[in-house]
């Protein structure tokens, strides 16, 4: 053993195996992003205010006017229970904007260049970011669930089912943060990544079964809404929370995802991850500030 002096050369670390290195590097980057989150709590707080606002607005503004099939007209409690899965799902998709803005910011500030010049796993910067977003999304869901309970939302299934419901929501959020990662690497500024990550979310989340039952929509929109990947997770969570009206037909158009929402939700999310992770990592390899 030699004494450590300032002049002592630091031995160049040995190369490590692929998967071990990927996991380790991803966790290092995730930790970095979580520390940032703690130091910029505004981002997390604003991320919470929006869904809470949506819950309150939808429940009290629309709640009395929207009739849930199978429930009595104007039954606000039925709508409240119907709505929450939709709000939860919409909230997790906002991770897209966070991931996009974060990565665009790293590009802009030259951090991506630094990471790319290091002997680290190629996917780790993006995986680390999406993992950190997953933690943030989970926190947001907890707070939102508490708010929902306060205004009268109740789950009617056992805890295991409810937890599976939340797990599917988190998986969807994780999938969407990979879309955000690709957007962040593609646009030039964090501002563009934020709006680029949000704009298409509105039609995507509104042409769905999230906020209103699809039977009020024109026929072609019903097809779109029921095949919308987003709807599958909403329906799955709704069923797992016991918030669907018992005995009503689950689908208007007979779409497969509505008949098997849990499987459809898993398949859609994994497909999105597979596609966008591949595209984002490829983009990262050649990313230039």
């Amino acid at each position: 053993m030699s004494a450590v002096t300032e002049a002592a050369p630091v031995r160049t670390p040995q190369p490590r195996g692929g998967i071990g290195r990927s996991v380790r590097d991803s966790l290092v980057v995730a930790k970095r992003n979580l520390i940032r989150m703690l130091r910029i709590p505004e981002v997390v707080i604003f991320g919470l205010i929006q869904p809470i606002m949506f819950v309150v607005l939808f429940t009290y503004v629309f709640g009395g006017s929207i009739t849930i099939p199978g429930a009595a007209p104007g039954n606000a409690q039925a709508y409240r229970e119907f709505l929450m899965a939709g709000i939860f799902a919409q909230t997790v998709t906002f991770a897209t904007a966070g991931a996009g803005a974060g990565i665009a910011d790293d590009m802009h500030k030259g951090l991506i260049d630094r990471f790319r010049s290091l002997p680290m796993s190629r996917g780790a910067v993006l995986t680390g970011r999406t993992l950190a977003d997953l933690v943030q999304t989970a926190l947001t869901l907890v707070v939102l669930a508490v708010v929902a309970l306060i205004i009268g939302w109740r789950a009617h299934e056992n805890l295991a089912k409810v937890l599976v419901g939340f797990a599917l929501l988190l998986l969807l959020g994780y999938a969407f943060s990979w879309i955000g990662a690709l957007i962040g690497l593609t646009v030039r500024t964090p501002e563009a990544a934020t709006s680029g990550g949000l704009i298409w979310l509105f039609p995507l989340t509104f042409i769905s079964n999230a906020f209103v039952p699809v039977n009020g929509m024109p026929a072609f929109l019903q097809y779109i809404a029921e095949w919308n990947p987003f709807s599958a997770t909403v329906q799955a969570a709704r069923d797992l929370f016991g918030n669907s009206i018992a005995g009503r037909p689950v689908s208007v158009t007979g779409a497969w995802p509505m008949e098997h929402p849990v499987w459809a939700s898993i398949i859609w999310s994994l497909l999105i991850i597979a596609l966008f992770r591949t595209l984002a990592v490829r983009k990262y390899r050649s990313a230039t500030a």
Binding site: T12, P13, P15, K31, R36, R39, K109, G110, S117, T288
Partner: protein, 362 residues
């Protein structure tokens, strides 16, 4: 045997712009190559290719003997990169930044922490170690950025405009650090727009413009190419200009210049300090009162202008996208218009901003 950084016929095109148009370097181990050129010349692109950030369209390169295109991951273990943007996470503390980089160089947590503490000490950041980098001054951020590039003491370092935008005191500090590093045996490729910086730090200089190497050599060789030294005299009164001119004609090796309004006379000479002493004696004998006199050597600024036809600080329009903007103030578009005049001035030996002269005599 190729050097620690070796590049052959590198070509990289962005759209219509040839950012690199057949660039070669060979940097011997332990030496410093200064890559000198205006914005958009291709300096940053060259660094990005050599640090595995960008694949060239054609050409080949090795760093520390490793093929950059074939084994980029191995190259990354042997290099440190410090850029013009000070790429540190401003919401992490100095220490957290360095530990993170150490971990990503695949060091163990303990080694990374120990190394971070050493570097913070060495770069005088210990007091600020546990503050977020957001609170750091520009100079401190650059030092942190440089420390991050040195986490594994890489044998080969790349610094892309390390002092752009820094004030003179911080620039001086950073130069000291870089010189210390090179004294320790690190091979360094440095890009700069500051001729003074290349002059001060680099053993060899490559002048690059429009993606091509237009001249290379030591600072002295490049200066010699531009022309020799000259004596510059400022006399006390306008009446003495004529007498001083007579004296200087006898010592000069060529046509001199006279600026009447500043009472400044310049003449090319050979003979150095000894000749300067003779000029002073002769002027004294003839009763000329001297306000200032000195032996001026051509600056790299002069070299640059004579090679490229424009001043070093002037950006070129077409290549700007490839190199990004250098970010420092003082580069105004208006200066382009001055190019011709400055070029002529340089030829005439009346440099607008002469380098402080070592042999200046009061």
């Amino acid at each position: 045997m190729p050097g620690a950084i070796y590049a052959e016929a590198l070509v990289k095109t962005f759209g219509d712009v040839k950012a690199l148009d057949g660039v070669d370097f060979d940097v011997p181990e332990g030496s410093v190559l200064g890559l000198l050129g205006p914005n958009g010349a291709g300096k940053t692109t060259a660094v990005r290719v050599l640090t595995t950030l960008l694949r060239p369209d054609s050409g080949s390169a090795t760093v520390a003997g490793i093929d950059v295109l074939r084994h980029p991951d191995r190259v990354r273990r042997s290099i440190g990169l410090s850029g013009q943007f000070a790429a540190v996470d401003e919401y992490l503390t100095g220490r957290e930044n360095l530990v993170m980089v150490g971990r990503l160089y695949q060091m163990s947590g303990r080694d990374a922490k120990r190394r971070a503490a050493e570097l913070l000490e060495r770069f005088h950041l210990t007091d600020a170690a546990d503050r977020t980098a957001k609170t750091y001054s520009g100079g401190m951020r650059r030092r942190l950025d440089l420390a991050a590039a040195l986490v594994v003491s890489p044998p080969v370092m790349f610094m892309d405009e390390p002092t752009t935008g820094l004030d003179p005191r911080n620039r001086q500090q950073l130069w000291d650090v870089i010189q210390e590093l090179v004294a320790g045996g690190t091979t360094l490729l440095l890009t700069t727009q500051y001729l003074e910086e290349a002059d001060r730090l680099a053993h060899d200089i490559c002048v690059i413009d429009h993606g091509r190497v237009i001249a290379r050599g030591t600072s002295d060789q490049l200066k010699a190419r531009t022309g020799g030294e000259r004596v510059e005299v400022v006399v006390h009164t306008p009446e003495q200009i004529r007498i001083a001119d007579e004296v200087l004609r006898r010592f000069g090796t060529g046509e001199g210049t006279i600026e009447t309004h500043t009472r400044k006379l310049t003449v090319p000479v050979t003979g150095g300090a000894k000749l300067l002493a003779e000029v002073i004696r002769e002027l004294d004998t003839r009763g000329v009162e001297i306000d200032d006199i000195g032996l001026r050597r051509p600056t790299l600024d002069d070299v640059f202008i004579s090679l490229t036809g424009h001043a070093a600080e002037t950006g070129t329009e077409n290549g700007a996208g490839a190199d990004g903007d250098g970010g420092s103030g003082g580069r105004k578009d208006g200066r382009r218009k001055d190019t011709k005049r400055r070029k002529k001035a340089a030829k005439d030996g009346v440099d607008a901003t002469p380098e402080p002269t070592k042999e200046a005599v009061k």
